[in-house]
């Protein structure tokens, strides 16, 4: 190959690399939520009635994420469940761009881990304070493996302005962002300089070759009595400075307590009476070519008013029966199918009536959110929530689940 050809190809290659890396710069905004196996997302926690107070705020301003959690009764046995394992109400954000200043479950403040009962519903609320400017991708999150919906609030301002001031039980007022920082820098680097002074004492003299040769010759005079005295001086100084530092810490902070830890306890679920609407899946199929799930469900209306199917939710994706229910919560559009749920018999289910209806949930979200992969999971069962509404807008909820049969044609 000639030099000209090499140069031509090199220039072309460089141009491709530059174009590929500078012209297309997608925004990274995900936490790997789609990579979790579908059955995990469908049969663990269901987040519903979600609300976030704002999607734009300035540094130090607060936003609230609130809603309800249904803890699925048929939790996969392969995954630790929150009834027996600690669960921590978290928030999925890219580092501390917000600080979490409050979080509650069932009205209880939950700075630490808790336990939840399977089959129950809980209210939750997380209050976040804006800290770092930018546009951020965010999840509600429970650290027993389940991620909820996604929002992207933006923050304006400067992080230097961020502060969160507290008063300790001993009466000191501290900014949690800065408290103790001067002492940390001071003591850390004092000890580093002190250590280097020790190194410097020895490095001021010949270090490697002459000492190695003297050591080979059995000459022990390379460590002099002065060296030992200097060393003991360093050690005594170390002990004294440590003692001074320890006492300085104690006198400046005479009352301290250990870190607080331990599971807070079992949270109070949302009180519930007998369900007004019961739903039992008789057959569930997923039709691969049509990206739709078809549920044959027996519904018993034990309430006092007629109800209609409003919504089917699974893995954070909401399929709405558009003729009955509209979403007004600004739910993330990629997780919302406003007309995605059709019902073969949309007439109201009367009080006392029991009938079998067929629901079809169709949307590209099955593929885009990788929920359709449930048919390739080792445990091809689904889970979700069915919502019903009456004429006054009152909503009833029923958890449904069971085997999911794939249809490939």
């Amino acid at each position: 190959m000639s030099k000209l050809a090499i140069r031509t190809w090199a220039a072309a290659g460089l141009a491709v690399v530059v174009a590929a890396t500078s012209l297309y710069v997608p925004e990274a905004s995900a936490h790997g939520e789609k990579s979790q196996q579908a059955f995990l997302r469908m049969r663990t926690l269901h987040w519903y009635d979600l609300n976030w107070s704002t999607d734009k705020l300035r540094v130090n301003e607060k936003m609230t994420v609130s809603g309800k959690i249904h803890v699925f009764k048929n939790w996969p046995e392969t995954t630790a469940n929150p009834e027996h394992s600690p669960a921590f109400l978290n928030i999925g954000i890219p580092g501390p761009v917000f600080t979490r200043v409050e979080s509650y479950m069932g009205g209880q403040f939950v700075p630490r881990s808790v336990n939840l009962e399977l089959g129950k519903n809980y209210t939750f609320k997380v209050v976040l304070q804006a800290r770092r400017p930018g546009r951020w991708h965010m999840h509600t999150m429970m650290n027993v493996e389940a991620a909820g919906p996604i929002i992207g609030p933006g923050i304006d301002g400067s992080m230097a302005d961020y502060k969160h001031v507290l008063t300790t039980l001993t009466g000191n007022t501290v900014d949690i962002e800065k408290v103790g920082t001067a002492g940390i820098w001071g003591w850390s680097f004092f000890w580093i300089f002190f250590g280097f002074a020790w190194i410097g004492y020895w490095a001021a003299k010949p270090v490697f070759v002459p000492r190695y040769m003297a050591r080979k010759a059995g000459d022990e005079s390379i460590v002099s009595p002065t060296d030992v005295k200097v060393g003991l001086g360093f050690m005594v100084a170390t002990l004294i400075i440590t003692w001074v530092g320890y006492n300085a810490g104690n006198s400046a902070n005479p009352i301290t307590i250990p870190l607080q830890a331990g599971v807070i306890g079992v949270m109070e679920p949302i009180p519930e009476g007998a369900p007004t609407v019961e739903a039992k899946v008789e057959q569930a199929t997923y039709r691969v070519p049509g990206r739709s799930v078809i549920l044959k469900v027996r519904v018993n209306n034990r309430g006092i008013s007629p109800v209609q199917v409003a919504e089917f939710e699974t893995a954070g994706i909401r399929f709405l029966n558009g003729s009955v229910y509209k979403d007004e919560t600004n739910y993330p559009p990629q997780l919302l199918a406003p007309e995605g749920l059709s019902v073969d018999d949309n007439s109201p289910i009367l009080p006392g009536q029991s009938k079998v209806i067929t629901l079809t949930g169709t949307d590209a979200a099955w593929e885009n959110e990788r929920i359709a992969d449930v048919i390739y999971d080792p445990d091809s069962r689904f889970g979700g929530l069915l919502f019903f509404v009456d004429s006054s807008g009152f909503r009833s909820m029923a958890a449904v689940g069971g085997p999911l049969l794939p249809r490939f044609t």
Binding site: F88, P111, S113, V179, W191, I192, R211, G245, T256, L259
Partner: protein
């Protein structure tokens, strides 16, 4: 004149070359120990030293000295046995702290914006100097292991209390008592590090009541003695040259 004829050096040139070698080897060794020791520390006691809400009275006090007396013991053997230099502990600990602070400042603060008062690195220099001086004074690895190892574990907590005490002040926060360090852990969200995976003291040491630190520190010092022995043998093996004279 043959191109292979030896060059004649003056004494000044020899001394200059020796000093140049000193500084080159010191810098190179420092960076090598920084890399190796830092990886070792991150893998064995990482989170305890990353976050203030892991710096407790029991496990942080126990684990950190035990995991950090390793490289000092090995390098002490090499430096003392081959060079009569009582530097190994301080040299490696400073290398570790250099790596830790580069990580904390540029990564934890500069990249992910955790404040320094939440992610500072504990100091181990007091214990390292004591370890070096005891070797210099006693000229014995046995005494260094027993007295120095114990001291290395014992001095760790008081050496850091000057920085940590302010973060253990009690606060009433939404009806619960928490330390400032607990609130930092709650405030600065770590998506992948939920609260329940903290390995910290969740009860006292039963019959020892609230005197958890002295018990933990003595236990740590005791294990440091054993770890010193093991790792000083690593130093011995790695600084022993053997020649094979028969095939």
């Amino acid at each position: 004149m043959s191109s292979l004829s030896p060059t004649v050096f003056t004494k000044a040139e020899i001394i200059q070359a020796s000093r140049t070698a000193d500084w080159l080897i010191l810098v190179f060794a420092f960076l090598v120990f920084t890399g190796g020791f830092h990886v070792h520390a991150m893998l064995t006691m990482g989170d305890w030293d990353f976050w203030t809400d892991w710096k407790d009275r029991r496990l942080w006090v126990t684990v950190t000295p035990i995991m950090c007396i390793t490289f000092p013991a090995a390098v002490q053997y090499w430096m003392w046995d081959k060079l009569r230099l009582p530097l190994g502990a301080t040299f490696t600990i400073l290398g570790l702290l250099f790596g830790e602070w580069v990580n904390r400042y540029f990564n934890f603060w500069g990249w992910t914006y955790f404040p320094i008062n939440f992610v500072w690195a504990a100091t181990l220099v007091p214990g390292a100097i004591i370890l070096d001086v005891i070797l210099l004074w006693s000229k014995s690895f046995l005494i260094t292991a027993v007295i120095g190892g114990l001291a290395f574990g014992l001095i760790f907590y008081p050496g850091n209390w000057s920085m940590l005490a302010v973060l253990h002040q009690p606060v009433e926060y939404n009806g619960m008592v928490m330390t400032i360090a607990d609130i930092q852990g709650y405030h600065y969200v770590r998506t992948g590090t939920p609260e329940y995976i903290r390995f910290v003291e969740k009860g006292t040491l039963r019959t020892f009541g609230k005197d958890v630190v002295p018990v933990s520190a003595f236990f740590s010092g005791f294990i440091c003695i054993l770890i010193y022995f093991i790792w000083h043998f690593f130093g011995r093996w790695y600084s022993t040259t053997r020649f094979i004279d028969q095939y």
